[in-house]
Amino acid sequence: MDVDALAALVPDGAQLALVPDNSLSPGAFARALVRRGARGLRLVGVPVSGYATDLLIGAGCVAEIETSAVTLGEAGMAPRFTAALAAGKLRVTDATCPAMHTRLQAAEKGVPFMPLRGVLGSDLVAHRPDWKIIDNPYQAGDPILLLPALSPEFAAFHAAMADEEGNVWVGRRRELATLAHASQRSLVTVERTVRGNMLEDERLAPGVIAGVYVSATAVVEHGAWPIGLLDEYGYDADHVALYAKLARSDDGFAEYCARFVNAQVARAAE
């Protein structure tokens, strides 16, 4: 399966969880979603998201997003996110990072909710009817926030390796295991495939997400780009800065897509 076939598994209107630009965000997969002309996606930033999200929003693929932030990091604001929100074309549900993690952990454990400390007094609470404050059953007079479980329809990320058993290796990025555990389907691009079963290798096993949580994989070299992949290649700050500059205008964004997203160019680049 190639990355375009993988992207075709996500139907219009699907809920799709994406990860931050420092956590194996799937750049090539996002570009494939743009190429396929996805529409009405309901994105989830776990706990925030960046390049992939801004690109998808700019290309008109996104109807709404729940996230704690959209950011291009050192390259600054996410211009298409900001523009879409200003134009009233995007519904944003704001969260705070540990709340996103907690909602996934609740889904991972199969419980309907989990509590979280902090957050009380933030205006976020007033805008989240799905967040509830209860009195701590273990200590009267101690209000505490409850968050509902979130089991995204799809999650997507880029891993270093896949093996013959469908296991993928994400190294230290164990938070992706929680995402995969919580999600209904995980679509994973990988840098390469390896023989055998990585779970049988005690040195590799700790960084593996078992195939039971992985619905499909596609090999894409430099599949995270312009995001980095562990110690294999770095974050391409120049390219993200170029994206941030071009994406400030509609024309510039169109130019970016023509140069870096459209099928032919993307093939060459990937």
Binding site: N22, V48, S68, D94, C97, L124
Partner: protein, 258 residues
Amino acid sequence: MSGKSDELLLIAAIARLITDPLGHPVRHAAVGAASPIPAAACWLAKMQGADIRLSLLHRPRGNPFTEGTRELFDLAGQGRIDLFFLGGVQIDGEANINLIGTGDWPGTAVRFPGSFGSAFMYLTVHRTILFREEHSPRVLVPRVDHISAPGTSPPGTFRRGHAQALVTGRCVFRFDPARARFALATLHPGETREGVRAATGFDYDELGEIAVTEGPTEAQSALLAGPVCDAMIETYPDFCRRVWGRGMKETGAKEQAA
């Protein structure tokens, strides 16, 4: 204010706050993305001999976590993060911070990235240093348009710590959580009480003589240009080049781009 001497001043001022013996002791400080000045201040305190573990969230490689930011938030939840830094699109006189945007919810006038972990960290970490270089009435407002994270909490609400101080490009404010009010602590060189008052949208106290914010000592300057810069160069190459004239920009391993 701008320029490298100003940045070194801010680093020294923050380092002094970190090692202030009156606050909760700082054994573990965490620094978020795009925060080279707080990171440098933590490194400086550490290089001066403070026993501080530093967790830099966005080191491209070799970051301290195996569960990403969830591990940071869990550490904070456990009470194991002593110091964190927060900024704000707006900060008000009760130390409420707004990272959402201005205008109606969720930022219809100007939208910013979002609240990140602020709503959690501000209440679970033992000490927070607020840092925002821009010191103007549009940033330091009487009341934030939206509270990403509250400066104080009512009695009975679980909360481990508050803002210790607010460091801007003009001055250092100390925060008194009991009174939910800032007091001017030191003025950066060249700033006046009147100038700061005029540039500040919220009311605050001025108690007695106000000292001038001290820049780095000679020994601190040497540490900053040497081992601190060495420690930061991979994470903050642009900053290190600008401030100390060191390092090359990291371009990433992929060459075919652009």
